[in-house]
Symmetry: D2
Subunit: 338 residues, 4 copies
C-alpha cells in the first residue's frame, strides 16, 4: 500500500515506449530537437497560446527557481503562502538566486487576494523594503486543494492592477485540471498567468516539467537563464518525447483523473468512518486527522508521511494516490481503519 507520494512509481508504459522510439536517429539538441519542438507546439495548441515559450527541465525546483530568477530584478520579491513548495520544501533555492519570498498565511493552501493587497500596503517605503513583484501559487496546492476559476480570476485581477506577475507551479496541474471540483480550463490558466509549468514527473512522466512562459518580457532572455542555472540538458528529445506521449490521446488527463478518483474513494471511506479531513479532498492528496495509535498501526502496513501534529494524541497524515493506485490498496487500507 503506497500512499507516500506520486513519484515512487515509474512512468507510464507509453511514455517509456515513446522514449525508446525517440532514441534513434540524429536530433538537434538543447530544446531544438523535433520532439521538443513538437511537444512545445502541442502544448501551445492545448493552452491556446501560439506565442508562448515552452521549455523542458528535469525537475520542479529547477522550474521554480528558473522562472522566478528570470522574472525578477534583484530587489523584487515573490509572495507565496507559507506552505508553498518554494517557501518550505526547496532548501532556499529561490533565496539562493537572491530573492526574498514574502510568506502569507493563506487558506487551505491557497493565497487570498486580500493577503496580496495587504503585502502591497505594507511595502510602501522604497527603497527600504523589497518590492513585491510576483505572486506564486500552486495548482493543485500542497494540500491538494485547487483554485476555482473565480478565485484565480480574482488573484489575476489583483496582480494586473498592481503590476504583479502571476506564476503557477503546476507540478500537479493534471490533478487540478481533472478534479471534480475544477471549473478552470488550461487555456484560462494560460490567460491568467504570466508563467506556469505542467508537471510531468508526478503524472505519468519519467522526469521533466514543461515550463510555459506567456509574458513576452520573460521569454526574451529565458534561454540564457536556462543555461546559466544548469537546466539546459543536451538530449532534450527525451523530454519532448515524454510530453508528446502524455498529451497524445489525453493520457495526461486520464492518468490524473485515475489518481483523483482513487483519492475521492478513499476520502469517502475515511469520512464514512467518521475521520476528519483537514482539507477538502479535491485532487490526489488527503490529509486525515487520526489518533496516533492508529497511525502507528497503519505505518506497519502502508507507506505515507505524518504531516503535522495538531495535538498530543493525534496526527495529520498525508495520503497521496496515483494513477497506479489499485482498488485493492484502497480496500486494504480501509480495512486497517476499522
Amino acid at each position: 500500500m503506497n500512499f507516500k507520494d506520486d513519484y515512487s512509481i515509474g512512468a507510464h508504459p507509453r511514455v517509456i515506449e515513446a522514449l525508446a522510439k525517440a532514441n534513434s536517429g540524429l536530433e538537434n539538441s538543447y530544446q531544438h530537437d523535433t520532439y521538443s519542438v513538437k511537444a512545445a507546439g502541442k502544448i501551445k495548441e492545448i493552452i491556446g497560446n501560439e506565442k508562448a515559450l515552452v521549455r523542458f527541465v528535469a525537475g520542479g525546483t529547477l522550474a521554480n527557481l528558473l522562472v522566478i530568477a528570470a522574472s525578477l530584478k534583484a530587489f523584487e520579491a515573490v509572495i507565496s503562502v507559507e506552505s508553498g513548495h518554494i517557501n518550505l520544501h526547496e532548501t532556499g533555492a529561490v533565496e539562493y538566486t537572491g530573492h526574498k519570498i514574502i510568506p502569507v498565511k493563506g487558506k487551505n493552501g491557497k493565497i487570498l487576494p486580500g493577503e496580496i493587497e495587504k503585502v502591497l500596503e505594507e511595502h510602501q517605503t522604497p527603497p527600504h523594503m523589497v518590492k513585491p513583484k510576483m505572486v506564486y501559487i500552486s495548482q493543485s496546492t500542497e494540500y491538494g486543494t485547487i483554485y476555482s476559476k473565480e478565485e484565480l480570476r480574482e488573484i489575476s485581477r489583483v496582480c494586473k492592477e498592481n503590476n504583479l506577475l502571476l506564476f503557477m507551479d503546476g507540478a500537479r496541474l493534471g490533478a487540478a485540471l481533472t478534479s471534480p471540483a475544477n471549473d478552470l480550463k488550461i487555456e484560462e490558466i494560460a490567460q491568467y498567468t504570466d508563467a506556469f509549468y505542467i508537471g510531468g514527473t508526478k503524472n505519468g512522466g519519467l522526469m521533466g516539467e514543461a515550463i510555459v512562459i506567456n509574458r513576452p518580457g520573460i521569454q526574451k532572455d529565458f534561454d540564457y537563464h536556462l543555461k546559466q542555472k544548469g537546466a539546459l540538458v543536451a538530449k532534450t528529445r527525451f523530454f519532448g518525447a515524454q510530453f508528446l506521449a502524455l498529451f497524445e490521446d489525453d493520457l495526461y488527463f486520464e492518468l490524473a483523473h485515475k489518481a483523483n478518483t482513487s483519492a475521492e474513494k478513499l476520502g469517502r471511506i475515511l469520512t464514512g468512518k467518521g475521520v476528519k479531513l483537514k482539507y477538502p479532498v479535491q485532487t490526489n492528496q488527503l490529509f486525515p486527522v487520526l489518533p496516533d495509535k492508529l497511525v502507528e498501526k497503519l505505518q506497519k502496513k502502508a507507506g505515507f508521511y505524518v504531516w503535522e501534529k495538531p495535538d498530543e494524541k493525534n496526527s495529520v497524515i498525508r495520503l497521496v494516490t496515483s494513477w497506479q493506485t489499485t482498488p485493492e490498496e484502497i480496500e486494504d487500507f480501509s480495512r486497517l481503519l476499522s
Copy 2:
C-alpha cells in the same frame, strides 16, 4: 519637534573633534590604523573578551548582511521575528547573499525560545528544507523593547543546545544597555552571542558600526567577506576615532541614557493623558495609539512616522527620542495632545 528618528541629527561634538584630531599624519589603512586598533582594544576591554575580532563598517545593513553571509553555508537560514530589521527593512539584503530568513511572530518585537524550537521541529527533512543555523535578534528591538538577562540566557541556551549561532543587531545597543529595565551587562551580551554589533550612527556617531565577532570560526575569514561585500573602506581611522570618542568617559552610555530619559518622560505624559502605548516604553522609541484626527494635527507640528493602522479610526505612530531631544520639544508635543 523631531521624533522621526535618531539619525536626522548630527554626531556629538566630541566625535567631530576626535575626527579632526585623527586627520593628521600617516596611518595604516583597512582597519589597521592606530585609531581602529585602539578602538577595537577598548571595545574588547569593555566587553571582557580579548579574543574578539572587532571590525568597523559604515552602516547597519552592511553589518547585518556581512555577519550573516560570513557565518552561514549556502543552505543555512537565519531565524528572525517578522518585524526584524533584516526581514522588513533591508530590501532583501540577506536574501541577496543567498540565505533564507525564517520569520516567526515574536512578542513585542522579541523572539520567544519556543518559537526557535518550533522552527527546528518543523525543519526535519534534510535535504529538502533549509537548515536553520542562526538566530538574529535586535537589542533594542524595532519596537524599542529589550531582552532581559533571563530572556537572553534562555535564547542562548536553546541556540547552544541546537547548535545555532546567535547574532545580535545592536544598532541601538546603547539605548538597551542604559534602559531602566535593563539587567544585562555588555560582557554578558558578548558571552551569550556569537557576534553582535555596537551601533554608532544612531547614538552619537557620524557613521559607523562596530562589529564584534566572538566565535573564532567566524573570525577566521571575516576580512575576506568584509572586502568582498564592499565594506572595507580605506581610511578606517575615521571609524576608529569615532568609537574612541564614544567610549571615552562613557559618552556612548551618557547619550543613550539621555535619549531614554526623554522617552520615559514622554511615555509618562502620554499614559497620563490616557493614551495607550502599543509596546512598553523601555528605550528611546514609543508607539502610542492615537485617533487619526489627532495624528493629523500632530503631523503639522512634529516629525514622526505613522507605523500601523490597527483600525479605521486610529493609528500607531512611532516617536523616537535622541540625545538631542530637548525638554521643550517634549513639552510642546505634550501640549499638542491636550
Copy 3:
C-alpha cells in the same frame, strides 16, 4: 555525416532497455532508489573508493556549478584554463553562484602546474584578492587532449602542497580512459582528485552525469546543495538504471573506445592528406586546419562547427566522433577532402 557533437545521437539501446526494466514497481526517490544505490556501489567499486559519495544529476553544467559551489567559501576562486567549459561555455553558471574563475592560458587545453603556482604567487594580499582554492580540469579537455598520469600527479602534488582542491570535469571521461594515449586508471583519478564526474550523456547515456565526491568535507552537506540548486530530481531510478547499464560488461568503455577509434582513423586520413591538426588527436575530437573554401564545401555535406579563425584564409573546424560514427561516414568525409 555527423561530426557536430556527441550528443545529437540517442542513448545506447541497452540503456533504453534498462530504463524500461527499471520502470516497474515502487522505488525510493531522491537518489535512494535501488538502481541509484546499486549504480553508486558499482562506481565506488570501479574507482576503488568505498567511501566516495556518488550522486546523479541531469547535466554537466549542473554538475560543475554544484561541485564548485558546494566546495568553496564565498571568497574562494577556482582556477581553470581559458578554454575550460566552466569558463567559456556555461553562461557564467559558476559566477552566478558567486565564485570567480581565474583563467590561465594552458597548453593544448591542459593546465600547467607552473600556471597554478603563478596564480598562487599573484594572490598574496589577503583580503584584497580572492583566495584560489580549487583547480578545475577536464578529462578529456575541450580540445580532446588528455592528461597523462605524470601530468595529473604533478597537478595533484601542487594542489596538495598548496591546500587546493582538485576537481575533474569528466563529461568525456570515457573517451579519456580509452584513449590510446592514456596511462591513467580510473582508480588513480579517484585518488588524485577531490571530486570528479563521469559523463553519461555524451557516451551512451540518455541524460545524466555521475558526480563522485572523494573528499569527506565536501560530501558532508552535498545533498543540501543538490536540492538547493534544483539538481535533485525525484525519480532518480532512471539515472541509476542508465549507469548500471553503462557499467555492465564495460559498455561505457566499449562505446568510448569505438568513438576514439573512429577519430583516430579520421585523424590518420587527414594527416595523410597533409592536413594540419591543431591539437594532437587523443580522443574523439579533432581540430583540423582547413582552407575556408574546403570548409564551405564540407559544410554542404557534413555537420561540424567552425571553431576558430586563425587567419583570413583558413579555419579550424571541430570534428567529433561518437560510438555511432560509421566507417562510411569517415570514408565519405575523406572523399570530400580530396
Copy 4:
C-alpha cells in the same frame, strides 16, 4: 617618505571643517539631506548633465559592485583589463553579485577597442556563453595612465555600436583630469559613459565616492540596489559636505594637480638617473624598474609596494604621490637612488 598609497593620509582640512559645520541641525537622511542634494547639484552642474543621478557611497568596491549589479541582467558580463581593480583587487565582489568579468590584456592598463570587438566576436553562441554587456575602465588606470579623448571616444563608439554599457571607475579621476597629458573634460566623460564615479577618498576626502548615473534605465531602480547592497547609510550629510568642500574653489582639482606634479618631478628624477619606468608617468603613480638590491635599501627608508618581479634581479615598484607629498620627500628619495 610615504609613497605607499594615496589613502594613508587624512582628509584635507577644509573637508574636515565642512564636516564639522554640517554637523549641526536636523537633516533628512538617506541621500536626501541638504548637503547631499547640493553636492549632487554641484556635480551635475560640473559634468553638464542635469538629469544625472548622483549617489554617495563609502568606498570604491561598493561603488563598483553596485553600478555593475544594478546595470546587468544575471547572464550579462563585464569586460575589463586583467589589471582592472574589479578583476584583481576586490576579492571577487563583482562575481559575488553573480556576474562574470571577461578579462582582456589591455595596454598600459588601458583596454583597446579591438579587444572589446574580439570579445564580442568570441561570444556568439547564445545561450551557451555569457552576454558581454558592459565595459569597465578606470581613469586613471591601475598603472596611473589615462585615456585620451580620442581613446575614450573610440571605446564609447564601439560600446554604442554594440549596445554595450560603459562604466568608468574614477577612484582617481581627479588625478586623470589634472594630468598634463589629459585632453578630456569631465563633461565629455559624462557624455561618453553610462555611469562613472568621482573618488573622494584618494583625493582630499575622508571617505566617500560620488556615483554618477547618466543612463536613465540604470537610474530608475538604483536606490533599491543601493539599500540592498548595504550602501545606503543614514547620515549622508557627511558625504555631501565632503564633496561640497572638494568642489568649492576647485579644491579637488588643486589637490590632484599637486599630487601629479610631485609624481612628474619624481619621474624626471628617476629618468634622469637612467631608471626605466614601466609605464608612462601621467598621474600620481610611478612604476620604476629597479635592481633588487636598491629596492631593499629603499625599503628601509621609504614606504612603497613591490608590484612585480619581471626577472630575478629586478623589481617593479609602485610609487604613489599625494597632495601631501613634500619636495623634501622627493629629494630624500632621490638621494637614496644615487
